[in-house]
Amino acid sequence: MTAVITPETPAARRSRWGRLYHGETRIDFMGRKWWGLGVSATLIVITIISLLAQGLNLGLEFKGGVQWELPAAHISRSEALSILKADGIDTSNVVVQTVSASGVNRLRIQAGEQSIDVRQKVITDLAKKAQVAESEVSASSVTSSWGSEITKSAIRALVVFIILVALFIAWRFEYRMAIAAIAAMVHDVLISVGVYSVLRLEVTPATVIAFLTILGFSLYDTIVVFDKVDENTARFAGARLPYDDVINVSMNQVLMRSLNTSVAAVLPVLSLLVVGAGILGAIALREFALALFVGLITGSYSSIFIAAPLLAELKSRSPKYKSLRAPRAVGPDLERLVLGGSPSAKRDSSRVRGSGAGATRDENSSVATALRTPQTADAILTHPPRPRKKTRR
């Protein structure tokens, strides 16, 4: 039994990764908030410039038109073009791409709006030329009015979604958290859109679905962080701790959870991207997985580097925290706050295990220490387990 107060915390003896693994980090997130905000601001500026300069590469479904797709084993691009010309299509605006799927090259041909008859004729002619059955030729045609309609409905859904979620968060937590969470969400979508704009990737309905997923995921992550913040706010209420510290503590506490969840969410998506779209070559999956991948990463990033600092900014200005402008706790101080049950507190609590009849596995430890009053300053912040009552039902 070591009753001495060790000057060194156990975590300090671990490597950086060890501390991460054991959830004993003491990263001063708030001290580095300008890093995060700066990176994000830069990315957003790039996004806006790119959007203004070249816009988005909208897919067929948003522009209207016809797209045919077929195995390209026996047909070349120029042959396809001449078929289109023979069927009376103005080929000046026709785009012919070769895409690879399942190790087979496929030809993707996009043209403006066509009549049903022309569309069908092209299917027949292409199938004949490429020596495949007509059912092997995929074709989709969309009117431009429908494209704008689904864009409109997506935007409407988005607005309703944001309003409802903001109301929900404001009701469950507080309105400042709602603002910060929505801001982080918008940030994620902007950056994801930016990636699509800069790389000129095609935006399809699948991409829109992926963007919507990003919203959900970003919020989910942010809410888990905020839930911790909410809990710590109550916990530190008596200690009059500056809000920056509360956030720092919360973030360190959920860091491992956040990383774990992100890894768990990214793994299937990565598998979809690498195995599904890459090796097996499913085109439909690629569009989806790529947007998701980008979004998941920005989502995890933003809940820590955008949502939390924003919340701290908003909250520090509130009447309650305005007066609490103390220097942030860093290093070991922060760590003690993060760990809650610091070594001294742990020793206090250990008594419980020995005395409790329910703690079956350490009968021999009934030599338990007597209950000591906490000695360190941070002890008021911790809630060591109450001693178990002697009588059990």
């Binding site: 039994m1 070591t2 156990p10 693994y21 054991h22 959830g23 797709e69 077929l70 049903i116 069908q120 030729v137 995929s138 989709s140 045609s141 009117t143 009015s145 309609e149 409905s153 997506a154 859904a157 929900f168 968060i169 469950r172 309905p205 699948a206 919507l212 997923t213 959900g216 919020l219 809410i223 888990v224 959920v254 969840t261 890894v263 768990a264 969410a265 998506v269 990565l270 598998s271 195995v275 599904g276 779209a277 097996l280 499913a282 439909a284 999956l285 998701l292 809650g340 049950g341 507190a345 020793r347 250990s350 020995g354 409790g356 329910g358 596995r361 350490d362 430890s365 220490t369 387990p385």
Partner: protein, 571 residues
Amino acid sequence: MRRKLIYPLLAVVIIAVGLLTINLSLGYKPALGLDLRGGISVTLRPVGTDWDASSLDLAVQRIRARVDSVGVGEPEIVRQGNAIVVNLPGVNDTKKALDLVTVTGKVFLRPVLACAQDTSATSSTATSTTTAGATTSVVTSGSDATATTVAASATTSAATATSTPSTGAPGPSRHVDSRPAADSTTTTSVSTTAASTTTDGTATTTPGTGSTSGSADVPTSVSGSTTSTVAGATTTTELLQSNPTQTEILKTRDGEICQVGPSQGDGTVFTKDSAKAQIINGSWGVTVDLKSGSGGEGVWNALAAECYNGTSTCPTKRLAIQLDTQIQSAPTVNADKFTGSVQITGKFSRHEAESLAEVLNSGALPITLKVEAIDNVSATLGKDSLRAALIAGAIGVALVILFMILYYRRLAVVVVVGLSISGALVYSATSLISRFYNGVLSLSGVAGLIVSIGVTIDSYVVFFERLKDEVRSGRTLRNSAQRGFKAAFRTILIADAVSLIGAAVLWYLSVGAVRGFAFYLGLSTVMDVFVAYFFTRPAVLLLARSRFMSGKHVLGLDSHNEGTQPTGATS
């Protein structure tokens, strides 16, 4: 306490395994969407603003009836917001698909030139006359009319062949009464003969297309006609598009085949939403109000007078109410002047009366649908996508499980079993939905499910991290599990609530693929809460008491940490 944990645990496992067994043994499988097995998808939207939700619903019903009549396997016809999405798996012919989905909800009022029982239903005039005889107030009785028409067709049976061999009134008789003056039910049978002979005159003036010869179905006139006319008749039964400006042959709902003249009015003569099914004189019938003025009563009365008097354009005295390519009802007109409202009575069942009322209401507010998008998906492309998604999904899940085992050690057992239970539940739910609600699993749905793996795992992560925190602060594992779950479940509920809000909003407000995605995301979110409370909680609480979990290292907490503890929990 132990029982309180074991029971829900057992219940969840039994439910999951039971549902899965039932589904597998009955062969229920998730129906695959179009993008996973190939076919044609058509998206339609009403043109203009002059329509309402009920007319859109009726259009969906009409399309479904037409698709069913052709026999497409597992079609999906759904209304999504203001659009109708028709998915026809396995169909490759774009033209055919478009024909199937083109419905208007437009009701035409057309004079009936002649009618006959469908050959496939009955082949003798005797039956048709007996049915006619069974009806109450219909005047034109079978044998007479047949005789005259045979004569008529014999005299005129030229190449034009608009013979109109009327068998008179067949089937259940339906007649139209003017509500105020419902006296004139009988008489006027004399005019029939005159009418049918003069019909030939009209037919020649409006040179009907070859299809008019379809009336050769009537056995008595077959002798006078060629075999080719029979072929003509069979093609007309598959007629998918109607041209109301010409004389045509259409089927009624009772299996009659009728020749009808050009449309002389449409459903807009009726007041919107005025048609009601009700009991009139002891049997089910329909009443409907006429619009006043020339556009309503004027048009109707002109047509009614024609039919009531049995003029050459309406020799059978019957008025066909046509929706799309089907005659919904062909009642006999019993008055020449109607004011305010019309009664249609006959041998209706309640259901028939209600559906006729619905048709009349939709006709008052017809809907014109425009094809907004057509999507042919090649079957092999769909199969490839599905295979890739399944393989990628399996690898993804395996990676996640590996990660969980590395990080949470023995606690990962709960994750593995929990994921299997979630998987079994989602699979069963999907199969049941496919079976009973016509839902399909599309590529976007599969993607939604893969994404939900992340969300599901997160519940475990939140709980386990919490549990570790509690253990670290010196509580027993058993105690930590209880406290940890309480706090974690709060977080899980809030986070899942947001996911659910998102899924619901997307589902209500979007069209097409986004909807499938939202549905499966929502489904697995609900499952997540269910599994977390009824499986994860009891499982972890029970594990926390067992020897299996004794010692902190099983949680991934190292012994070093314990070394600082005076009591030395393990060893």
